[in-house]
Amino acid sequence: MADKIDIKNVAKLASIKLNQEEEDRLESDLSMIIEHFDALSKMDLPDDKISIHPLGMSLNLAEDIASKSLTHKEALSNAPESKDGQFVVPPSLD
């Protein structure tokens, strides 16, 4: 089942820059793990309604009552760079 893993594409999707050594190693590691999944991927499993939750718990929605949490200072306290109360990053195009 497993095609060759396009590690460059996966790294791009995950927004992690890999060097060549990492790419090679990870491609090999991941392939080995994926192969291990082969048995699972081939199992014939019923298409029942799946709850992602172990206990299939029900959702409790919150009342629309607003309250203050972080101060402006707290919000920016770990900012690598900020100016005029805003977070600063290199230019984001698109």
Binding site: A62, L76, Q86, V89
Partner: protein
Amino acid sequence: MSIIPTIGMETHVELKTNSKMFCRCHVLDTESPNESLCPTCLGLPGSLPVPNKKAIEFITLLALSTNCSITNDGMFHRKNYFYPDLPKNYQISQFDLPVGIEGSLEIVVDGEFGTVEIERVHMEEDTGKSTHIGSGRIDSATSTHLDFNRAGIPLVEVVTKPLIKSSKEAVAYIEELRQLVIDLDISEGKLEKGNLRFDANISVAHEGDKELGTKVEIKNMNSLKSLEKAIEYEISRQTKMLIDKENIIQETRHWDEKKEVTSSMRSKEGSADYRYFSDPDIPNMILSNDFVNEVKKTIPELPSQKRKMFIETGLSIEDANNLGKNTKWIGDLYKSITEITGDSKSSFNWVTGELQGQLRKLEITHLPNWVTAKNLSEIIFLVKEDKISFTSGKEILANLIEQEIVPEQFAIENNLIQENNIEEISKIVEEVIEKNSEVLERIANGEEKLIGFLVGQIIKISNGQVNASVAKELLLKEISS
């Protein structure tokens, strides 16, 4: 062979809840950046989302009002992509189990009814705001500033089926959707504030083609005018390419307001891999039939119903449509006046023409509380019954806006009551004719413009109290005899 455009609209509606979608931070309208934040909407490590009940009620209201089927057993999904204004680098949204599906919205285009089919209505959260700093052009910015006040605000995304056929239809649809969210009281609906944002998906194909052409997404249209222009531009761009057999790339293009063109955005072509999966932090959202029925009970008068009601009072589809999209009190006033006067046309003209016009000139946005359907109807009756001229009616209205007066009383006190008696008018006509024989001669010689002068004389002598049209009629009779 003609080329047919196909348009699909994706609209985001900002809901006017007190708190954000997945946390209880205030939904603030402020210039001050990063004021309304908590670990959840700032995406701090260890934070968790808890959905807002009111937002779910609002989206259910919208879904029901657009005739959608409600998904009783739905869920939230994570839409994964990296962008600085997205705190978690995934947006909590809905993928294949949205709150509402398969709905429709009645619209009016060029005075005719139409329907826009809605594919889905789903719940998601807004991102923060990016400001690009630099020389002013997006592609030469030196840095980007981020304000996360907006991050996490509840958004409803409404997606139409790709069945819209013209820019006019698209505009009419957005206008209708905007009116709907305003009437439902779930959003302020102000385009200029970003309460309603839309993207258009446009493709073209040869008439008769079974498949749609390549879809191009157009973003950054900030007004209805831009929407119309952008669609027109894009249709013509794609049409030309289709005719020239050029390859239309599936991409996202940006509407340039200044240059009035759509241009390619730098990003990737093709569709992104969002790796949707159900959000494990949020259990399935069960919307019981009881819940849905409770929401159904709160549906107010919808724009389509208002429109129907106005049409039943005697207005055209176009007028009824425009009236419904006006500020609410205008429509209410029109309705009350029509009930009293029984004359929809006059009522419509007086309310939307004269009253709104005068208020606008005076820069008054609210109707003074002494101006009522009753006294406005009084003015209308006075004019209808020829007791006063139309001009006098306008004068009374102007005074009424300024202070509390009784129209008929005002008319009497100010000598505005018209003389309608033919005999009385004839006397004045004769008098004027006698005194202006030279003018009569000149009229007989072809200077027909001078008739107006004579009418003016008649009005002058009668202190403006003569029914001017009757006077003119009588004058013309006399002249021709």
